[in-house]
């Protein structure tokens, strides 16, 4: 019986530690993807400004309230606009940003391919 109790306590501690670790991971992931709006080229994760410190606390609070990653981004985008998120979604304003590198890559590929064929 004692062993059983000990195992349950151990399981509980392990579970709590694991949940904290998951929360920290999520917290870091989100704060790395949120722009510190008053800093120069820094994410909230990297910055120690007042804005970033409060933002970290807010993200923490939202995770505790049960928000998932996407819901937190949506909430912040509503308040600050899409600029706050580093990873821009695919929409009519950002499609050039997403498609241009692929287009350039394909054009380069075609040029190289054509040159190789000509050489042969």
């Amino acid at each position: 019986m004692k062993l059983f109790k000990f195992l349950i306590i151990l399981l509980f501690i392990f579970n709590a530690a694991n949940s904290d670790e998951n929360k920290n991971e999520l917290m870091n992931k989100i704060s790395k993807n949120i722009r510190c709006l008053i800093c120069q080229g820094q994410s909230v994760y990297d910055s120690n400004s007042d804005f970033a410190l409060s933002m970290k606390l807010l993200i923490n609070k939202k995770i505790d309230e049960g928000y998932n990653e996407k819901e937190i981004y949506d909430f912040l985008e509503k308040k600050y606009g899409k600029w706050i998120v580093y990873d821009p979604g695919f929409n009519k304003k950002t499609f050039i940003l997403w498609l241009l590198p692929i287009l350039l890559f394909l054009t380069g590929g075609v040029i190289i391919f054509k040159k190789l064929i000509v050489k042969k």
């Binding site: 709006l37 008053i38 800093c39 120069q40 007042d50 804005f51 410190l53 409060s54 933002m55 606390l57 807010l58 609070k61 509503k78 308040k79 600050y80 606009g81 600029w83």
Partner: protein, 173 residues
């Protein structure tokens, strides 16, 4: 023939780069996107500045057509600068000015209000800055105009100057 164009093209290219880089030196490095969207005022719970009692924003933002929410702190020098403007605005009885005291020492904040006057109909406390971030603030001072539908219709980042006060008066008309 080919060489004839190479030098002018290089000159144009470097000239273009120089102009772009030179002009960007004058610009601020911090980009703040234009915000033309109205945002819903997030409900929040806070503490009353004077009584220390828990208070909900729902109980504060009632009974007026327009509200001015001003985020301030006693340690913020620009807040001192704009305070007389807020005192002036507070004479207009059709609006309610609500203060949000940001990451401040309560004793210093009370001293600030005693020395410079109290333009606010209520003051709420934001100990850790979370409420300000939830409202979409960047820093202090910052002032939001909120309509009776509890939508933030205008945000002023930085000090309220004469031009901004005129803008506020135009909105309130």
């Amino acid at each position: 023939m080919k060489n004839k164009f190479v030098l002018p093209l290089w000159i144009i290219f470097f000239g273009f780069c120089f102009i772009v880089l030179f002009n960007s030196l004058k610009n601020s490095n911090i980009y703040i996107p234009e915000e033309n969207f109205e945002t819903e005022l997030t409900n929040f719970n806070s503490e009353d500045f004077f009584s220390g009692k828990r208070i909900s924003s729902k109980d504060v933002f009632v009974g007026s057509d327009y509200y001015i929410l001003n985020i301030w702190a006693s340690w913020c020098a620009p807040c001192r600068e704009e305070h007389p403007k807020l005192m002036e605005l507070s004479k207009n009885s059709s609006i309610k000015i609500i203060g949000l005291n940001y990451k401040d020492n309560l004793k210093n904040a009370k001293k600030f209000i005693n020395n410079f006057g109290n333009p606010y109909s209520s003051i709420l406390l934001d100990h850790d800055g979370i409420i300000s971030i939830e409202l979409g603030a960047y820093g202090i001072p910052e002032t939001f105009i909120i309509n009776k539908k509890n939508k933030i219709i205008k945000k002023f980042r930085g000090v309220l100057n004469t031009k901004r006060i005129k803008e506020i008066n135009l909105i309130l008309k």
